[in-house]
Amino acid sequence: MQLYPLRLVTIVGESVIMDDIAEKGLELGATGYTLSEVVGEGARSARNVAIASGDKTMKLEFVVPSEVAVDILTHVSHEYFEHYAVIAWLSDVQVVRGQQYVK
């Protein structure tokens, strides 16, 4: 069974910005994303506000090639790190039939 090396980008932060980031991720080359509600505490998370029928904090994941991963993290870092409660990290994963997640 073929495994293909890709990057897992994980972004945890305020719900208000997560939809925008997910969309941007698709623009930047991700073939999809996975979003889930979490509860979190951090340096600035006190600033989080609830959105209509939603939680204050969400976790967003992208399985993408390195370049796309870097683009997404750069975007998040420039756009949101200054004023929003958000953390983002990268890890290595082996993906089943991974080519299909490379545009």
Binding site: V16, A46, A50, A52, S53, E82
Partner: protein, 368 residues
Amino acid sequence: MTPLACSAVPALLAFFNAEQLARIVDSLERNLLTPIPLCFLLGMICTRIHGGIKIPKELYYSIAIFLLMSIGFIGGHELAHEYQEHGVATIWKPALATLFLGCLTPITSYLVLRYVGRMSIADAAGIAAHYGSTSAVTYAVANSFVEQTQHPANSFLPTLVTILECPGIAIALVIGAALSAKERARKSAATGRPSKESRLGEALYEVMTGQSIMLMAGLLVIGFISTLFMDPKGFQPFYDFFQSKGMLFRGALCIFLLEMGLVAGEKLGDLVKVGPFLVAFGILMPLVHGFLGVYFGHLAGLNLGGCTVLGAIVASASYIAAPPAVRLTLPEANPTYSITAALAITFPFNIAIGIPIYFEMAKWVGAQ
């Protein structure tokens, strides 16, 4: 700044003579010792003593949806009757007055916050957005107050709530976005991202098509239409389900205020952070806006209950629609300020003390 607060309250109460004060105290008691404010108090206490009450957020959101639908539906129902009797004759003046107040209050709030409170542009505009809009729950509480004092408000008050929801947020956001344009311009140059306007537009659209508006306005139309076209017998069960005097609405309000108390209890800890000025602002600004609401309501021909309720909703601050919009448009603004002021100061002040005061103001300006 607390001296200001401490001195201002008596100063303001000086408007009232002894007998009026007695009546205020009396109706305060009648207002406070009822399940709705007491549930809010219970929630606050529970949080302070780290008690175990947990309201699932889905229940909280479900009740919010029900309350908004009720306000809209019953509003549309009564609007239909009003319309059948008087056409738009009785409505257009109050509607205009409300619109005017919706545009005025964010500006007054901004000016006070920026130049008296010396807050940053973003923070001042952010808080102004909350106080320029309104709180549907404060409306519900004010409405049951006047119902219990046997002075029911004019039938079209829910329509006014709907009118009051948006403009305040919109204006405050535009002020904030425009005035903080320079910083944001610099920033966007650095990051080379689309300039803030897009964001602002998007946020404004989200406010105008937000849950509160869609449900209140939508059910208002539905209530209006079905009142005109349905036979009363078929209409009855829907009326019973939504009616604000009914057990569902009042009971749901209890649970909703319990949860609000739980949240407000947490924010109480932030009172120190926000400082004395904001505490004073959260009490005095509503009194001023409340008086404006009562006064213009009277000019527009509202009855005693109507003036009281209009005063209450103008005095109230939004804590559901405003926060996410502000967060998106003015990220530099610290939500702790606006939410603590709206939820932990102004909301309890209004439902506990404010409403009876607006009721006295309404009598004082001669509404009946």
